[in-house]
């Protein structure tokens, strides 16, 4: 056996022909043009906006100038005159804030500990986890400090609020509707179409529709609001109600996305297992916990990840519904960037864009590593 192997290795392997080589690499070759185009379109704006983030734009005769200012635009956002706008104004920590902070700290410490005990520790893994934990901890502290007492959240915290609360509510609603529509109920197809409609409407259209619906003077619900004695109150003048109205619009638009993907996943769960479980007398909750959820979890995690990426970019609803107001209450990071751009402050606009890129990347990569991948392993 060893002799035969030695004999074979001494012979020069036949040189593959061009057709064979092309055939062997056909996959990458076919994909390459698309990759180059995508990279060009993705990387070029990234480089230009990176340069803008380090510059100050000003008008000049016949055109404009860009003066290099280093990290000044980032400093302005994080520590300078725009700190109240981007990060917010801090309030005083109360008992609730301390308890929540302790809970998040314990949860993150437990995740880190579990990783170190897993026996698969790598340098990259440690760095990645430390960045994730740092950003999540930072966002938690900011959210708690700016929502506390006399604090006022900035666009970073407001965006995080939209992302965390919005995506959670949309996922739960989408899953609930999908579970209902997966049942053999009458008019199932009709409901599927109806629930899917909001996703097909352009976001700015939804924003204007919601603005009309939520109009306290002339909107269709105005008589109802008056009937219940709320005629001297408006959602648009209070920070929390304005934020919630933006969330309602966002949820109305994006729940169908969750719904349609989760419905497909539920309908693809192993029918034989479900039927066998029913024959064995398992209840609905048991079937969901032991069969449905393990089956749909990888898809659920993926769809939440896609939605997370999208949710960070929210702009249409706050822009149309409230213009970012009252005060700064509903202004998202994308709207912050857009408003800076609109006022010639291209450096700050790009800096906000880069901060958004950093935060959304860390959150989404963390979610992928800590949630999506484990669910895939779980399924395998």
């Amino acid at each position: 056996m060893a002799v035969a192997a030695a004999d074979m290795s001494s012979e020069a392997p036949p040189r593959p022909g061009l057709a064979e080589r092309l055939d062997r690499h056909s996959g990458p070759i076919m994909v390459l043009p698309a990759v180059i185009i995508l990279l060009a379109f993705a990387i070029f704006p990234l480089i230009v906006s990176g340069y803008l983030a380090l510059s100050r734009f000003s008008l000049a005769a016949g055109g404009f100038t860009l003066k290099y200012v280093g990290l000044l635009n980032f400093k302005k956002l994080l520590l300078g005159s725009q700190q109240y706008h981007f990060i917010g104004t801090f309030g005083t920590f109360g008992a609730v804030q301390w308890i929540l902070l302790a809970a998040v700290t314990v949860a993150l410490a437990w995740l880190l500990l579990r990783y170190f005990r897993s026996g698969a520790v790598t340098v990259l893994g440690i760095i990645g986890r430390l960045i994730s934990v740092g950003v999540i901890m930072g966002l938690t502290v900011l959210a708690l400090a700016t929502f506390a007492g006399a604090g006022v959240p900035g666009t970073l915290v407001t965006t995080t609020f939209y992302v965390v609360v919005g995506v959670t509510v949309q996922f739960l609603l989408g899953l609930g509707l999908a579970l209902i529509c997966a049942q053999p109920i009458r008019g199932r197809s009709f409901f599927r179409v109806v629930f899917f409609i909001p996703l097909m409407v352009t976001p700015v259209g939804i924003a204007y529709a919601f603005r009309m619906l939520a109009d306290m003077q002339k909107g269709p619900f105005a008589p109802l609001v008056r009937l219940f004695g709320f005629d001297e109150w408006s959602w648009a003048t209070e920070a929390w109600s304005a934020r919630l109205m933006v969330l309602v619009g966002d949820t109305w638009q994006w729940t169908p996305f969750m719904f349609i993907v989760l419905l497909a996943a539920i309908e693809n769960q192993p029918r034989d297992q479900v039927e066998a479980a029913r024959l064995d007398g398992a209840g609905g909750i048991q079937i969901f916990r032991d069969i449905t959820w393990p089956s749909v979890a990888p898809i659920a995690a993926t769809v939440v990840l896609i939605r997370l990426i999208e949710a960070f970019k929210i702009i249409d609803l706050p822009n149309v519904l409230t213009g970012g107001g009252p005060g700064l209450a509903t202004e998202s990071m994308t709207l912050h960037s857009f408003i800076s751009w609109r006022t010639q402050d291209l450096g700050s606009s790009a800096a906000v864009g880069y901060m958004l890129l950093f935060v959304s990347t860390v959150v989404c990569v963390s979610f992928f590593n800590f949630v999506v991948r484990p669910t895939r392993r779980f399924q395998a």
């Binding site: 408006s234 822009n319 408003i339």
Partner: protein
Amino acid sequence: MRTSILLAGISAVCLLAGSATAQDQFAGVTVNVMTQTGAIQEPLQRRAPEFEKLTGAKINVIAVPFSDLYQKVLTDWASGTNSVDAAVFAPQWMVDYISGEYLEDLTPRVDADADIQQDDVGAFFRDFSEKYNGKTYMITLDGDFHMMYYRKDVLEEAGLQPPKTWDEYLEVAKAVHGKDMNGDGAPDFGSCIAKKRNAQSYWFVTDVVGSMTQSKGTSQGAFFNTADMTPLVDNEAFRKALDFLSESTQYGPEDELNLDVSDTRPLFASGRCALNLDWGDVGTISIDKANSKVIGKWGAAIMPGSKEVLNWESGALEACTPEICPHAVDGVNHAPFAAFGGWGGGINAAADPKVKDAAYAFFSYMTQPAQSNADVVVGGTGFNPYRMSQLSYSDLWKNAGMSEEEAQVYLGAINASMSSPNMILDLRIPQNQKYQQVVLDEAISRYLAGEIDKDATVKAVEDGWNELNEEIGSDEQLEVYKATIGAS
């Protein structure tokens, strides 16, 4: 109205008959004109086909929201894209467009154009809104002054007079707030003022502050100390103005903080507001038979004023005396604010010469009395009177449905504002949009939302304006500021 249409028709026929080649003058030429969505867009869009029939030029009106207009035009011209050949915008932005050399000098064209009857254009618009450094860069299409509107019947029923001061404004608003003013059984509002962020609300704070900071004439200025460019913000006048905005919100619609002028105008016309601050549009909207419920029930007046004015040295308010308030009427210092200065048309200097000619011809056509007279009496156009011939009662207004009594108060308020020696000129220093539409607008919005208190608001505006002064250059800004208000 009929007369205006008839005149427009005759004018069009004369143009067609008089010049057989006029129809082909701009054949094949397309002019892209950018302006704001809604009012202002409407008359341009409506008259574009008429103009095309007359000259062959196709006018392509591109409309964007007001808050995007400044930057869209600027980006297009500064980046060299030049897809916008001309724009209808706020005269105060002109300074930024001129500093970049993007705006065409229209002086020779205007001087040679007898059809636009420049002598008939109000002196303020002709000499201030259209010009910069003695050159004409814009063609006025609209006249803009802030005014106060009131419900004559509601005030009479309550035994009240139209307010002359801001304190009286609040008293009247408080007294009538919650009464049913349009007979629908629902309580209505004492005051309606647009207060939405990122909209057109930020001008209204200047109405109140200005009547206390400027008392010695236009050249005194209302925004900065002309000695050193210190913002006139950290003082009792600005704080009192903040109090006014805050208290007036109590007598307004529940969602007033989310209302722009496009929302408050229909509210007044539908009879839901006793008092309202706005541009001239409300007058023409209120006589619209199809939509107005206040025909014959409304009045207009010059903006309220103050019996106390600011001592610039001490930062305190002092009672008016003939010495410190030389222009006061019955002891009340009025400082009518020429907010915005009237929409006007400007042309991209980098446009093709033939396109520039066509763009100018279009703006000339729009401002000629035959068209302008018909447009300024219609509420939906967004155009308000700016020609002297439009500022007195005539068939023009009679045919539009305005009674002589209404015209007296409406046109009287515009005339009084325009002729006031203490008129506040809009801020026209470089990057004025950042000073007002960003720093001021954001701080006022945060204050009204309860995010920050009065002192923090004062600090936010003062710091923001000082930071801009430092960035752009305090001395340069001061020089321009003094030049624009005529200060020595």
